[in-house]
């Protein structure tokens, strides 16, 4: 049978996006309206549409699909809406209150922006994932040196589990002190539970996040137990439906770290797919970056309520070791590093004694911006865009929603323009400028914090609204180029389609790190153990170990430090030269981040070891589109002219180009707008855009020319 389709399906709040890649490099996209009550309906609907586009039945399409990958919000939604399983938690006796104590204020203010954290009185903690009465202590203890000081008191486990199940717990989390150093007690608890309550789903901390720090490890394990049943049910059902319809290959699920998980491993990975939504765009950026030769990329995705920024550095995206999945809930599951601020189309603009601000509060989609005419009276970014002429009122939401400029003007006039003594257009331009600057500040923050220079980066702009702001960042950040991908409206789905099956094995094991064979031996032994676990996992998912690639990382610090830098390291026996190389890379990275001369002659230690394993597949390649140049008889010309407003020069006639009419090599002089579906791309004054052979719109400052093949 022909295996020709590689499909990515990404479920979003409004649309379920699909991308199909074929061996010839062609890309097909499709959107279906999301069905939040039963997300699989939209998935199947979209697949049917994709099949129809190819003149196939759904069964025929699925039979010809080599891989179907899925980005789902089912975990994220269950978390946000607190609709997970009722979880029972077993902890070392004496430490049952770990989650309630929550490392003091961390449980309340962790992960919050300063403006909220500083509101001492009103910052309520979020509701916990496990009720305090569903936590039980188990008499047992392992020391920091991995010595078992007390074996598990078996009757404690039997009694606790019997009681918890009788009380209505549907899922169990187990997190014992130091289990990541010596899992024997925790595994023993797992065995007893399997005997007492064989059907009860169990998450052991040593399987979910075998890393130092009981609060974070416990949050991670509980979150996995909380989300696991809901997530697994949805995915198993979807898989069964797809198989019934004829899917011949495995379904794979997108994780927040950017890799795919096979359904068979989802049990211990439910927490790892929380917030995987924005990660797809990062994977797609990495992939597209490789095609166009960009390895330093800032990714920007602006939606209705938020603006997400990610980074591809030397061709790889950076990961966060302990991201917050909610206020006060840090999890020890690496996730692609995304920084989000409340700056979206729905962000509300305000004035306060001569100051103009935007956000962080948002009108969301209900009531939405004033111009939606759904009762919103607060002026939003979208209202400003409309007043400035940057949005076409007829094309918004594919023409399904008519925007009212009158309402937009009224909202901006009463809330911003009049209090500040400005004209409506000037105020709208101010809102636009402030929000564009906030976005640019965020990008500066994510780069500079890591010692990187924004001038080395290309910006990828995708999602609803980024392409209307991105052109300005050429000047504000001095970035090299702004790229609006051809598939910008379904970019996350492209990322899902191009992701690789992968997983990580991690262990915390603090060891001295010094030049010399003892360190080299220890590192070799630790990676050997991680490889042992990885091979077991590969066997479970039926992947041959010669089909995989791997990278190793070790988190290093000076002895006594509390934070580490993650440094690449050979994942196995290291030579002394390689060891020296690791130390050098650590020092380079350290000085890059903290300045020359900040390294010290102090002993070093390695804390956490990570083995990333990925199935080494050939990457699909995107085909060339619209090459061959423009016909002599059909010169490039705008389809319309519209007035747009700018703060410095007032109203300005702006050329509007239709994306469908462009071919590779076309050059558009700013100030102009390129419109495609419901995406508008602004090419600001003093810049120009060129369409490349993959259909990407690439914007640069005038005078900075680019080579694009036709």
């Amino acid at each position: 049978m022909m295996s020709e389709f590689r499909i990515g399906v990404d479920t979003g709040g409004t649309f379920t996006d699909l991308v199909a890649l074929r061996p010839d490099g062609s890309v097909q996209t499709r959107k279906a309206l999301s069905t939040p009550h039963a997300p699989q309906e939209a998935v199947l609907e979209g697949l049917r549409g994709l099949a129809a586009d190819n003149g196939l039945s759904l069964g025929e399409l699925l039979a010809r699909t080599s891989r179907l990958a899925h980005g789902t919000t089912v975990s994220t939604n269950a978390l946000i809406q607190r609709r997970g399983a009722r979880v029972g938690l077993l902890m070392t006796a004496g430490f049952e209150d770990t989650l309630s104590i929550g490392r003091g204020p961390l449980r309340r203010t962790g992960g919050l922006p300063a403006s909220k954290g500083r509101d001492y009185i009103h910052t309520q903690p979020v509701s916990p994932l496990v009720r305090p009465e569903d936590v039980r202590g188990i008499r047992e203890r392992v020391g920091s040196d991995a010595v078992v000081l007390r074996e598990v008191v078996e009757e404690d486990v039997v009694e606790a589990v019997t009681d918890l199940v009788a009380g209505g717990c549907e899922s169990l989390a187990v997190c014992l002190l130091w289990s990541f150093r010596n899992p024997v007690n925790e595994r023993r608890v797992g065995q007893i539970v399997a005997r007492v309550a064989p059907d009860l789903p169990v998450s052991l901390s040593v399987d979910v996040a075998p890393l130092i720090g009981e609060y974070e490890r416990c949050v991670t394990t509980v979150a996995n137990a909380y989300l696991g049943p809901t997530t697994e049910t949805y995915i198993r059902e979807l898989e069964a439906q797809l198989e019934a319809e004829g899917l011949g290959s495995d379904l794979q699920i997108m994780r927040s770290s950017g890799g795919l998980t096979p359904v068979s491993l989802i049990k211990d990975d439910a927490v790892a797919i929380v917030n995987s939504g924005p990660t797809g765009g990062l994977v797609a950026s990495q992939y597209l970056g490789e095609l166009i030769g960009a390895d330093m990329i800032l990714t920007t995705d602006m939606g209705g309520t938020s603006f997400d920024v990610g980074m591809v550095e030397d061709g790889a995206f950076t990961r966060e070791q302990s991201p917050f999945i909610d206020q006060g809930l840090p999890v020890r599951v690496p996730a692609a590093r995304m920084i989000t601020i409340g700056a979206g189309g729905g962000s509300i603009a305000w004035s306060d004694r001569g100051r103009l601000g935007v956000g962080p509060s948002s009108a969301g989609s209900q009531p939405g911006p004033a111009c939606y005419g759904r009762g919103g009276v607060e002026p939003t970014v979208t209202d400003a865009l409309l007043i400035l002429g940057l949005l076409s009122p007829e094309r918004f939401f594919g023409g399904q929603l008519h925007l009212s400029e009158e309402r937009a003007r009224e909202a901006v006039a009463t809330r911003v323009a009049e209090p500040l003594g400005m004209g409506v257009e000037e105020a709208a331009a101010g809102i636009y400028e402030v929000v564009t600057a906030q976005m640019s500040d965020l990008m500066r923050k994510v780069t500079v914090e890591r010692g990187l220079d924004p001038r080395d980066f290309v910006v990828f702009a995708y999602g609803g609204a980024s392409p209307l702001h991105a052109g300005h960042w050429l000047r504000m950040l001095d970035v090299r180029e702004v790229v609006v991908p051809a598939t910008s409206a379904v970019f996350s789905a492209l990322g899902v389609a191009t992701s690789m099956l992968s997983f990580s094995e991690q262990v915390s094991e603090p060891v001295e790190f010094a030049a010399g064979s003892p360190t080299a031996d220890v590192i070799g032994q630790i990676f050997d153990r991680l490889w042992g676990r990885a091979l077991e996992r590969l066997a479970r998912i039926g992947v041959a170990d010669d089909a995989v690639g791997s990278t190793g990382h070790v988190e290093l610090r000076y002895r006594g430090q509390m934070n580490e830098l993650s440094i690449e390291c050979p994942a196995g026996k290291v030579t002394l030269d390689e060891l020296d190389g690791v130390k050098r890379r650590f020092e380079q990275e350290y000085e890059r981040r903290f300045g020359r001369g900040t390294t010290v002659r102090a002993p070093m230690e390695a804390i956490t070891f990570t083995l990333d394993v990925f199935v080494d597949e050939r990457k699909p390649r995107l085909g060339d589109v619209r090459t061959g140049g423009r016909d002599e008889g059909r010169p490039l010309s705008p389809v319309a002219v519209r007035r747009t407003y700018q703060r410095d020069s007032g109203w300005w006639d702006t050329n509007i180009y239709e994306f469908a009419g462009l071919v590779a090599g076309d050059r558009i002089e700013g100030r102009a707008l390129v419109e495609r579906g419901d995406t508008s791309i602004l090419v600001p004054e003093g810049t120009h855009a060129v369409l490349d052979e993959f259909g990407n719109v690439r914007i640069r400052l005038d005078g900075v020319e680019q080579e694009v093949s036709r």
Partner: protein, 712 residues
């Protein structure tokens, strides 16, 4: 030169300055070796105008940013020459450091030969020498037994001076940590300087300076407006230290009368104790910084930027030669968790009482928040002379007072740093040779009230893998009086206490029946320590402690019974207190409503038995619309307002001068507020008592306060 900055550029640059300062903090946290810094956030970063006024502050300890401004002004006035890239360094409490552990670094930013801004940071070093490990010198009688006070240029022209570095590092018991923390601070300055230089080049000095001024002006105007919305008046605050050094458990006091007139807030500390020959004294600028903490936390909150804008509105009087304005050479190495801390405790009470009388801002009432820093340093000295040690972080598990609309936050941490977190047990065990036996929420440690104060946690540990450990227990206060004030009748929260159990053989118990350790059983064999104590814990001993809880809001008999039931269900309140303090009769998982009514009447009657007539000062002007409290209301017209009990409607009789009303009063031992108060003295102190003011009609509480009784 002043230039107009349009509102848009202003907002853009405000964000930019915030973000640059934030980057300074990120650099410090990543390089630092100290749990105090990384988990406890005991550092801070700031950007200052050319005169040393704070413009943008970081999210660490908010004591530091104010005192940093004073230090920079001292640098400016010192007559030193500054060149671009110079970094000054001091830890001198008489120049603006809070105590000697807090090393301040500041660097002027030059543009075209002129200083245009200052960059500053301050970080608590784990040990800088002195008579006691950890440098909180609980044994010092003189400044000269304390850590050296430095005044140095650590970097010249952007390059670290190795001789200066070595001088500093070599005086620490933990030189590796000192070295890394020093580099962390320099790294932070480096990061901020590079970014600010870029910003100056991009926007111009005039524009950036105008924004810096504007930020300060903005905060001042916003705070001025808020103060204008609050009725004028004078409010009281006081806090007591029960033990100021090893071997001394004398009581030392800070007393405050805080007056609000128009948009000015004045803190007057007249009547506070004379300075003492122990390290808990506070210098003037730390008293200033300590006073502003509740102003930032409860008035500015998340709405008004925290900067020098408040300096023009907030003033203090601290008599020279007292514990709140110590004169050289008074020892001061515990200042930050000594009298600086208690200044904040007293200021917090006064600010809460002011807000309580302010109808528009009663939602901000919170009279206590982490009132004692139960700071315990543990050190291990190996025979080879190597020293290993650190400050435990469990004191950040203490609680905050109830609010006027909800219970207080349990494990709120400290008011001085909203993001100062406790470390993980595993992290501590990997850094120190100890084994934790438990870290548990402490039942009944939240001050009872209609809304309950937040609870605290108790930690207990034992030496592990070593014969013995040295402990230095620097508990601010709280072994007799708790200082964890409640308000409007709410009870004080649990005290702050450390203890040792000798020869308890916890590891044997663990290996034997796998004992589950809990506070009740553990403390039966406890030797309760005074507020400042040191000693040795050997193998088989247990060292334990709990920071304070938060005070309650209003009368506990007014608490909705279902809340008490829920608290009992999760162990925050015991059955005994449910019945004895809240008057709630539980039947299994439910409330017996009828029996509860009866029980509550019994308790009211019992309160009035043996009570005597007292005069109660209202603390607010009845005529100006002040809302008295949860249990008192103003009734009647403009001409002749009456004060009534909200529960029984009893009309209080005014005293002759009209400022006070006649009520009933009762006095009892401090332990009446809860069993974690005054533990060292069995709940019955000879120096403090619990005084309550009651409605003569029904016994509903008007106030419940700890009072000193052994003098005046």
């Amino acid at each position: 030169v002043s230039v107009d900055v349009d509102p848009i550029s202003f907002e853009v640059l405000r964000h930019r300055l915030w973000q640059i300062n934030d980057e300074q903090g990120v650099a410090i946290r990543t390089v630092s070796a100290s749990p105090i810094v990384v988990e406890g956030n005991d550092f801070n970063v700031g950007l200052f105008d050319r005169r040393g006024r704070l413009a943008t502050s970081g999210s660490g300890s908010l004591i530091h940013v104010n005192t940093l401004g004073f230090t920079i002004r001292n640098f400016i006035e010192s007559g030193l020459d500054f060149d671009p890239g110079d970094v000054l360094m001091t830890n001198d409490p008489y120049l603006g450091a809070v105590h000697q552990n807090d090393v301040i670094m500041a660097s002027p930013l030059f543009v075209d030969g002129e200083i245009v801004l200052w960059i500053g940071n301050v970080l608590h070093h784990a040990d800088v020498g002195g008579i006691d490990e950890g440098s909180f010198c609980i044994n010092a009688r003189s400044l000269f037994q304390e850590p050296a006070r430095y005044f140095l240029k650590i970097a010249r022209g952007g390059r670290i001076d190795p001789a200066v570095e070595r001088t500093f590092v070599t005086n620490s018991r933990l030189p590796d940590a000192a070295s890394l923390d020093l580099r962390a601070q320099l790294g932070g300055i480096h990061v901020a300087r590079e970014r600010l230089e870029g910003l100056m080049a991009e926007r111009g000095v005039e524009v950036v300076s105008a924004v810096v001024d504007g930020l300060i002006d903005d905060s001042r105007e916003q705070l001025s407006r808020m103060l204008g919305e609050i009725p004028d008046g004078t409010w009281h605050g006081e806090a007591h230290m029960d033990g100021d050094r090893v071997g001394s458990d004398r009581v030392v006091t800070v007393t405050l009368e805080m007056t609000k007139r128009g948009d000015r807030l004045h803190f007057d500390y007249a009547g506070s104790s004379p300075q003492v020959d122990s390290a808990v004294n506070c210098t003037w600028h730390s008293t200033y910084a300590g006073s502003t903490v509740p102003v930032y936390a409860f008035l500015c909150g998340g709405e008004i930027d925290w900067n020098a804008g408040l300096e023009e509105l907030v003033t203090i009087d601290a008599p020279s030669g007292t514990v709140v304005n110590a004169e050289f050479p008074a020892p001061v190495s515990i200042c930050t968790i000594g009298f600086r801390w208690l200044v904040t405790v007293a200021a917090n009470q006064a600010v809460a009482r002011m807000l309580s009388a302010s109808p528009a801002h009663r939602d901000r009432v919170c009279p206590s928040w982490g009132v004692s820093c139960n700071a315990n340093n543990l050190f291990h000295h190996s025979p080879s002379g190597k020293t290993q040690g650190a400050l435990l972080s469990d004191h950040r598990c203490g609680g905050a007072a109830a609010r006027s609309f909800a219970d207080g936050f349990s494990h709120s941490g400290q008011i001085t740093a909203y993001s100062s977190n406790a470390g993980n047990v595993e992290t501590t065990e990997s850094k120190l040779p100890v084994l934790y036996l438990m870290r548990r929420q402490l039942t009944d440690s939240g001050g009872p009230g209609r809304f309950r104060g937040g609870v605290t946690a108790m930690s207990a540990l034992t030496p592990y893998g070593v014969d013995q450990l040295t402990f230095k227990s620097t508990n601010t206060a709280g072994t007799e009086a708790s200082n964890a004030a409640g308000i409007e009748g709410g009870f004080p929260g649990g005290g702050s206490q450390a203890f040792v159990c000798r020869d308890a053989d916890p590891l044997g118990a663990l290996a034997g029946d796998g004992a589950a350790f809990d506070p009740e059983t553990l403390v039966t064999a406890a030797d309760w320590l005074p507020s400042k104590a040191d000693g040795i814990v050997r193998q088989g001993d247990v060292f334990g402690f709990y920071p304070p809880g938060g005070g309650g809001f209003s009368d506990p008999l007014l608490r909705e019974p279902w809340r008490v039931r829920d608290d009992v269900a999760v162990g925050l309140v015991s059955d005994e207190d449910a019945n004895g303090v809240y008057g709630v009769v539980l039947t299994g998982a439910g409330v017996d409503e009828d029996a509860t009514r009866v029980r509550r009447e019994e308790l009211r009657t019992a309160r009035l038995e043996g009570a005597s007539t007292v005069e109660y000062r209202l603390g607010f002007d009845v005529g100006n619309g002040g809302s008295p409290s949860d249990t008192l209301e103003v009734a009647g017209g403009d001409g002749d307002p009456e004060i009534r009990c909200t529960w029984c409607g009893h009309t209080y009789e005014h005293t002759d001068d009209g400022d006070a009303v006649r009520a009933r009063g009762r006095r009892g031992p401090v332990g009446g507020a809860g069993r974690w108060v005054g533990r060292r003295v069995g709940g019955d102190s000879s120096r403090f008592e619990l005084q309550q003011v009651l409605c003569p009609g029904c016994g509903t509480l008007v106030s419940t306060d700890e009072r000193r009784v052994d003098e005046g």
